[in-house]
Amino acid sequence: MRLEAEGLAKRYPEGVQALADVSLELHEGEFVAVVGPSGAGKSTLLAILAGLLEPTAGRVLVDGAEVGAGVLLGRMGYMPQRDLLMEWRTTLGNATLGLELAGVERASARKLALAEFPRFGLAGFEDRRPSALSGGMRQRAALLRTFLAGRDVLLLDEPFGALDAITREAMREWLLGVWEAERKSILFVTHDVPEAVFLADRVYVLSERPGRVAAVVDVDLPRPRALELTGTPAFAALCERLLAPLRAQARAELGVVS
């Protein structure tokens, strides 16, 4: 499945212009990152692609055909910033949510989910409540819920944003491992430039509100990628290229002359 956005804009009824003009492409099996400062409309962009919001202008295409929000809703694997695990369900019960809502029989849903617990680093926590999980485990449980829902395209909204730096790094490497085995298309939203470079095939840089695409950078670093990659000059150069347009804007806002 190929997902495209053309000239997306969103103005909220209260008058806030969140997105001005965003076009991007996500091809089958690609890992694409969208990076931008807070308030660049990253979450708005994902909500439009998930079919939760109608854009004010622009269109969304799936495999070349324009689709409305009604069609998109329920077709994308959407993972919001907060893990939203339900305390009244066990980790397993949370993981099977998507399967359950897709009408998969309880026993087979559990079987499918249980098979994935070791790969998601959750073995032994199947019957524990979310409050018994660490921050990293909670995010992996939320990702497992998203993966198990079985959509071709995953829209991930800063999934590691709330984690500490060391856990974040480990989670990045782990996510790439899972992705390389599954080859689902992933659109990964973050405000962390090195994270975007480490993970993605291509990075879209959004400007500050209202969000528009300030730069598109192809990341030609070899795969599979390990954390050691982040120390190489090629990695640093790519980060620099992405940061440049963001820096200029942040400085201008603060009145710093560069």
Binding site: L52, G74, P80, L84, W88, L101, A102, S131
Partner: protein, 274 residues
């Protein structure tokens, strides 16, 4: 071992207190028991030292012997009153939860009914009681209505709050997973509302006892604990009045505990996450 407990250990704290369960129970039961003993002791002491007439202020000993003396009357009275409480409370729970679901599901129902819900509570009950008796006679019905009327409000209001407390982001997530309105209700709204509902049920349990006693004062046919209070009061049998009060207190505490027990079964994640 989590980082937190490791720190506690490192600082010299013990990880697992040994007789955990027994100690927990003792810690919970002993303090209120001690307060009770002190209060009863002080009461007995005051009565003994002040020489006040036992008709004005009977000591704990007098009340205890009244409890034994009146046991059969108290028991049958408690049966009647408990029946009123149980039935009235059940009506209140059904009506309260039903109203809450209707109000939180349709905006128009909420706009139409919520003000009347409030009106039903600001009318002082004593003003209503004689009318209820006139309309429904002296049998058990007006008592059920009074009990239901005082206890449905906390149930309804808390259930409405609970059904509204669902995390809106969770609803959004469920919609992207293809959930219908009904599925959102069952998967997210009801579990979120349960702890709120039980708060309402607990308050309502206490209200129900008061409601039953009051209903018996107004329209009694000579049965129930409320009636016994009036009857003993007229005879200035003060120790016997206190005996009835003790039985009522026991009923109230028992109801409260019963609701708490039901809560533990129905909402196990709530206490566990505290």
């Amino acid at each position: 071992m989590s980082a937190g407990t490791r720190l506690v250990v490192a600082l010299g704290g013990r990880l697992e207190p040994r007789p955990r369960r027994a100690r927990g129970v003792a810690r919970r039961v002993l303090p209120p028991l001690a307060v009770g003993v002190v209060l009863i002791g002080a009461w007995e002491l005051y009565v003994a030292l002040s020489g006040v007439s036992s008709q004005i202020a009977p000591g704990p000993g007098d009340v205890a012997s009244a409890l034994v003396r009146d046991r059969s009357v108290l028991l049958s009275g408690a049966g009647t009153t408990l029946e009123e409480i149980a039935l009235g409370y059940a009506i209140a729970a059904v009506v309260g939860i039903g109203l809450a679901v209707a109000l939180s599901s349709w905006r128009i129902v909420e706009r139409a009914l919520y003000p009347w819900l409030v009106v039903s509570q600001v009318i002082p009950l004593p003003a209503l009681a004689p009318i209820l008796v006139l309309w429904t006679g002296f049998d058990v019905r007006p008592k059920l209505i009074v009990v239901a009327l005082v206890s449905f409000f906390p149930i309804a209001v808390n259930a409405i709050d609970g059904l509204r407390a669902t995390d809106p982001e969770l609803v959004v997530l469920l919609r992207t997973l293809g959930a219908s309105r009904r599925q959102v209700f069952a998967i997210a709204r009801v579990p979120t509302a349960l702890p709120y509902l039980f708060s309402g049920l607990r308050v309502a349990a206490a209200f129900a006892v008061t409601g039953a006693v009051f209903a018996e004062w107004v329209g009694s046919t000579g049965v129930g604990l409320g009636y016994l209070i009036l009857s003993y009061g007229n005879q200035t049998a003060t120790a016997d009045v206190f005996a009835v009060v003790v039985v009522l207190a026991l009923i109230g505490v028992a109801l409260f505990a019963l609701v708490g027990l039901a809560e533990r079964v129905a909402v196990p994640w709530w206490r566990a996450s505290e």
